[in-house]
């Protein structure tokens, strides 16, 4: 039997193929290697796809403009398909094989948490694009994140509810990582915010009809508002079903659908009046001239939409923020040493990104506060700033 020989040949062939990756290929003036593991496909591709596009677009632009510290950026992106185990393998690959100096990515909280030990062990700065609070709480030495946390989204929604004099909510959430994590945070902060969750429902990541769940919420006692924690197509269907059932209580979505795409998926009629907390990016044109974010978000929006011919989402924005924070830190540190770079990222102050103004510190590896969120509402088929 030729088993062992065969096995070895298969292994070697695999190794040889893997070696042929671009990582070892082009070497023009010592490029700075930056890695990314994103959920470009799979259940979280709604988030990962714009992140991927943004990173590629901006790395090209930066390189076109002369690179960083006179060196080109070299980006390596791997697709984890939404699977944490695969993400972990790619993280090892980035660190051990591609020798990246920093990592921007980790689309989902699960993938981020699975990858974190790899970067921590290797002392390679890791800027995650996922929402979960546990990524930076308690802060780990080399792990950062750019998106707002889901807890902030809950607090923002509940504050808006209270301002409208509402307090009894029906929660509906997706059973995916995003939905479940936000659901947990909302339940945790509800009491402090003076909100009571009187009904609670969930739906699977690919469910196509949520009328039974919404009927139950409607029938719950004195529900004054419906809050949906979820991302992807689920919230669009919840919005449609909410309108279909003629439920009149206000509907809040999460920052997980902060894109104009959501309105067209949910249909403008059904989405009318839906509110959600979102980064300034969503309402770029409506920002006052004096707003520090106005120029940044308009630039990003124009660049992204021109290149890809699709509406921006705040997720692409998170990737933009992550990359830019890294680039600025590289400039400040003038080094690719992990610890120095980490210190430089940690020293980020007053960085204006699409998600808000970032002020990091040793104890805050995200650097955003509630003011970074704007409450927006769908009116006439587009997002409008609420109040202030």
């Amino acid at each position: 039997m030729q088993v062992p020989a065969l096995l070895r040949r298969v292994l070697l062939a695999g190794a040889a193929l893997a070696l042929a990756t671009p990582a070892g290929a082009q070497r023009s003036g010592e490029p700075i290697r930056v890695g990314a593991v994103l959920s470009v496909t799979g259940p979280a591709s709604f988030l990962g796809d714009p992140e991927d596009k943004t990173l590629r677009l901006y790395v090209n632009r930066i390189n076109g403009a002369g690179g960083v510290n006179g060196r080109q950026l070299q980006l390596t992106v791997y697709d984890d398909g939404g699977d944490a185990n695969r993400a972990r393998t790619f993280a090892t690959r980035l660190v051990e094989d591609d020798k990246v100096v920093a990592m921007v990515g980790g689309t989902t909280t699960g993938a981020t948490l699975a990858m974190r030990p790899v970067f921590e062990d290797a002392r390679v700065p890791f800027i995650s694009l996922a929402g979960g609070v546990e990524i930076v709480e308690p802060p780990q030495p080399y792990t950062f994140k750019t998106p707002h946390t889901d807890r902030m989204a809950c607090e923002k929604i509940f504050a808006d509810l209270r301002a409208r004099g509402l307090s009894r909510v029906g929660m509906i959430s997706g059973t995916d990582g995003f939905g479940a994590s936000m659901r947990g945070q909302c339940l945790r902060v509800a009491q402090a915010a003076g909100v009571t969750v009187v009904a609670e429902e969930s739906y699977g990541p690919r469910d196509s009809d949520m009328t039974p769940q919404l009927t139950r919420i409607r029938n719950a006692e004195r529900v004054e508002a419906v809050v949906n924690a979820g991302f992807g197509q689920g919230p669009a269907i919840v919005t449609r079903n909410h309108a279909q059932l003629g439920i009149r209580t206000p509907l809040y979505q999460s920052h997980g659908v902060a894109s104009r795409e959501f309105i067209s998926l949910a249909t403008p009629q059904a989405a009318e009046g839906v509110r959600l907390p979102a980064a300034a990016l969503l309402v770029a044109e409506q920002l006052p001239e004096a707003d520090p974010q106005r120029r940044v978000v308009l630039d990003y929006k124009t660049a992204f939409e021109k290149e890809f011919n699709q509406p921006v989402s705040t997720f692409g924005g998170h990737a933009y923020d992550g990359l830019m924070i890294l680039v600025e830190a590289l400039k400040r540190a003038n080094s690719t040493d992990g610890t120095r770079l980490r210190d430089a990222i940690r020293a980020t102050r007053g960085f204006v990104g699409t998600g808000g103004v970032v002020n990091m510190s040793a104890s805050d590896h995200m650097g955003l506060d509630l003011s970074a969120f704007r409450m927006v509402e769908v009116r006439g088929g587009d997002w409008r700033l609420v109040g202030n």
């Binding site: 470009v40 496909t41 799979g42 259940p43 591709s45 709604f46 796809d49 059973t175 429902e201 969930s202 739906y203 699977g204 690919r206 196509s208 009809d209 009328t211 039974p212 769940q213 009927t215 139950r216 029938n219 992807g232 197509q233 669009a236 269907i237 449609r240 309108a243 279909q244 059932l245 003629g246 795409e261 067209s264 998926l265 249909t267 009629q269 059904a270 699709q310």
Partner: protein, 291 residues
């Protein structure tokens, strides 16, 4: 109370009709080959996605839908010709793995050829819900249910009234005997792939206005459709329809009356319970084992 129940029923029947059509596709190919075609969900995806992209390119909806079904049938026939036919004589498990490969392949191609975003279609008759006994029903639900009934009737007529249909039934009943009386069972299998693809695509077109679509909707539909086909009795077209509707209803009633977190568990527990009582499924042929 009645309104609530009616709401759940309509929701369940609409979703169930899609499962039923997927299960019908499974059944046709299974009957001709013992193969469970895991790429069945991708046919539904193709139907929806081609329609979306054709309408976006300015093709009127009915023509776009027709093109989508046609294109998917072509894909189904090609799949048979290029992947199943060359492996003729291989065991059923080998063929099943080929269809798993095909499903990954079609998804991979779709994400490049189309994109990785979600897409929607407008309801064929608008999206204003129709009030009925206190429940609110989308007009598209009637399209889905009506479409499913038409497809089923069409398939029934085809199987009962046409020579090709009789060949399909003969092959399903006994492949060896069918071959002996001169039925070209390879052609029957090709036909089954074509018809299954067509049915899947039609389901995709009908349901996209309600459920939205994207390059990867197929996996879950295949899973649910497979369960539905098993519940009804693998190999029985009537069973596929009843099984699909039942799975849809179980999910909706489970979500409405039990717990939305465990609605899929409720559905699967019922399916498994039924299979313990009736291992052949509700409408499956229960034969005495011949030795």
């Amino acid at each position: 109370m009645v309104a609530e129940l009616l709401q759940f029923l309509v929701s369940g029947l609409t979703v169930g009709a899609v499962y039923a059509l997927v299960a019908l596709g499974f059944t046709l190919i299974y009957n001709a080959s013992d193969v469970v075609n895991f790429a069945q969900g991708e046919f539904v995806m193709l139907g929806g996605m081609v329609t979306v992209f054709a309408t976006a390119a300015g093709v009127p909806l009915p023509l776009a839908a027709f093109l989508a079904v046609l294109a998917t049938v072509a894909v189904g026939l090609l799949l048979h010709r290029l992947a199943i036919e060359p492996a003729r004589g291989a065991s059923a498990v080998t063929l099943i793995i080929i269809t798993i490969g095909a499903s990954i392949f079609l998804r991979g191609v779709a994400q490049v050829a189309f994109d990785k975003r979600f897409h929607q279609l407008p309801g064929f008759s608008g999206s204003d819900p129709i009030p009925l006994l206190g429940a609110a029903i989308l007009p598209q639900s009637f399209w889905v249910l009506g479409g499913a009934v038409l497809i089923f009737l069409g398939l029934w007529l085809f199987l009962e009234r046409t020579l090709a249909g009789k060949a399909v039934r003969a092959t399903a009943a006994n492949r060896l005997a069918a071959r002996l009386v001169g039925v070209d069972t390879a052609k029957v299998l090709a036909l089954s792939f074509g018809v299954s693809a067509g049915i899947g695509a039609a389901a995709g077109v009908l349901v996209t206005p309600i459920t939205l679509t994207s390059y990867d909707v197929g996996t879950l539909l295949a899973l649910k459709g497979f369960a539905a086909a098993m519940l009804g009795g693998m190999g029985s077209p009537l069973g596929a329809v009843v099984g699909g509707l039942m799975v849809g209803l179980l999910e909706a009633l489970g979500a409405g009356y039990v717990s939305s977190a465990y609605k899929d568990a409720v559905a699967f527990l019922v399916i498994v319970a039924v299979l313990f009582a009736l291992p052949q499924g509700l409408f499956g042929r229960s034969g005495v084992e011949r030795v």
